[in-house]
Amino acid sequence: MSIAGDISSSAPRFHLSKDVEQLLYRLLAAGLLCVALSVMTDAFLTTNNILNVLRQASLLFFLAAGLTLVILTGGLDLSVGANIGLSACLAATVIKVTGSPVLGTLAGLGAGCAVGICNGLMVAKLRIPSFIATYGMLWVLHGITYYYMAGETIHGFPPGFRQIGSGYFLGIPIPVYLMIGFLLAGTIFAQRTVWGQQIYAIGANPVAARLTGIPVDRRLILVYAFSGAMAGVASIVFLARLNSAEGDIGEAMTLPAIAAVLIGGASLFGGVGSVFGTFVGALILTLVLNGMNLLAVNASWQPLVTGVIVVFAVWLDMRGRRRT
């Protein structure tokens, strides 16, 4: 009895300090990367490049932040990249037709969110494993977007709209402010609200969560809707930055987004991870890719490196679990 009591009383404290420790390691890794890159290249430590890194990290973060919540519940959303494509093309069309960036933005966010709700319904109500449900959704979205765009490009948006992606305020890119906003909102939601804590509980032990009366199905749908909506946000910023929309926009973003979440310390088995960790993960991955760029490494190496990083991050997580 006393042994069981000891474990249950000491376990939470130990876990908390371990999580903080893990996060410090990741920040240290990011710092070391910065030092290494500034030694190896002249171009790294320039204001322009730092701002560039932050802006690229913000695009990745939007997608990865929504995905973090999904992964916290022990699920996965493979459709986020394809969701960007659909949302961006829809938003672009609405802006072109109505001339109103506000309506276009709403259309993009709405489309992203609607796709997310469909994912959530498939996972929560139809009980299809999340990775395969969202994988099917990926191809449905690709098909719709490619058919709709028919290889065309939509480009040329109002200057006011383009500010979202390429504008500056006080010398810092607008997307970076958005990133900080979503980072704060996401952290408060996950750590300081009942719904956020319920999401952790679902990931840690779905059966226990259901038994304690948490409306698991509704929270799951919410989480996938969030993920979809964040893909919508990413699509708008992407669109404003590129000033053009094509069918394959965002296609290559899914793997990096998953990588960012996993580097950030989230576990694929649910219940472990944080939005701030994902922020650090997005930063680390962007630093790696930016460094490869500066060192003139062929861009073809990027998916390979990202793939290896994903596998390595999951391996670290698995190793940590086996020890405890």
Partner: protein
């Protein structure tokens, strides 16, 4: 009551009508909608074109039966096809080329299997990672260009005939028979079923199941290498984006065929029917001039529907 006890231990039975009905409905629909569909030439065309998919779907069935998944198959097939094309163009030797393609497939299968079984990384993430790796390598090896100048004898593999039967059909039939025997008439097949359904039983029986799981993924890689030969022969070139997304058609065929993503229940004949269903769907939509993007969306919707049925079945039992 006795009816229930009879039917519950055989989950294959309700799966039979599902895919067969889908295939029948699609065939009926297309034969009405487009007159050319039922011609002998078109039907044999469907079979020939389905062979590459079959070569991927057969090992995918085993992998999914172990509660696994291989998302890297399309990218590995692409990389293997490029390696084969490069070797054949420079050495003029089909054997060396095929050895190269098989080597690429086996290497990726080994890595996939090692990640999944030894490091216990969830298969969909492990193979998503190797998908990225294979895609990157395909771009690096080919420098983003197609490899052309494939010798005529390579094309013969796809377009040749033996005793009046097209080569691809013979290759497909051969591998189908091989997998049927492997799954139902060898100890390996029994272990594969147990890998998904009851891994603890394997441990207790003293079977080294981690090695077995690596072997299953290596089988998938090797088949991607074989498929690469047919693919290169068919396109008469190696192309760095040739088979991207092909794993999805394979997963779709397996899911349609009634193989479950949980509990190690698989059905190799169902996979054959699933492959033909996907082939019929693509062919019929082609004849109706439906763009390939819509075809992909249709297959995506079909997969989700098949999984929904799968979930319904497993919840009932």
């Amino acid at each position: 009551m006795s009816d229930q006890t009879l039917s519950s231990p055989a989950p294959r039975l309700p799966a039979v009508p599902g895919v067969a009905v889908a295939l029948g409905l699609l065939a009926a629909l297309f034969s009405v909608a487009s007159p050319g569909f039922l011609s002998a030439g078109n039907l044999s065309n469907i079979l020939v074109q389905s062979v590459i998919l079959l070569l991927l779907a057969l090992p995918m069935t085993l992998i999914i039966m172990t509660e696994g998944l291989d998302l890297s198959m399309g990218a590995v097939l692409t990389l293997a096809s490029l390696v084969l094309a490069l070797i054949v163009v420079s050495t003029k030797s089909l054997a060396l080329g095929l050895a190269g393609a098989l080597g690429v497939g086996l290497a990726f299968g080994l890595v996939n299997g090692w990640l999944v079984s030894v490091l216990s990384i969830p298969p969909f993430v492990a193979t998503l990672g190797t998908l990225g790796a294979a895609q990157g390598l395909a771009l690096i090896v080919s420098d983003g260009q197609s490899v052309v100048g494939i010798p005529r004898f390579v094309r013969q593999v796809y377009s040749g005939e033996v005793a009046g039967l097209p080569m691809p059909i013979l290759i497909g039939a051969g591998f189908y028979a091989l997998f049927h025997v492997l799954l139902y008439h060898t100890r390996f097949g029994t272990y594969v079923c147990a890998l998904g359904g009851n891994r603890d039983a394997l441990t207790l029986a003293g079977v080294k199941w981690r090695r077995l799981l690596v072997a299953v993924y290596m089988l998938g890689g090797a088949m991607a290498g074989v498929a690469a030969l047919l693919m290169t022969a068919r396109m008469n070139a190696g192309h760095p984006t040739a088979a991207i997304g092909m794993e999805f058609d394979a997963i779709a065929a397996v899911a349609l065929g009634g193989t479950s993503f949980e509990k190690g229940k698989g059905w190799i004949f169902g996979t054959l029917l699933g492959v033909i269903t996907v082939g019929v769907l693509r062919n019929g939509l082609n004849l109706m001039a439906v763009p390939s993007s819509v075809q992909v969306a249709c297959i995506g919707a079909l997969v989700i529907f098949a999984l929904f049925l799968d979930g319904m079945r497993s919840h009932k039992s």
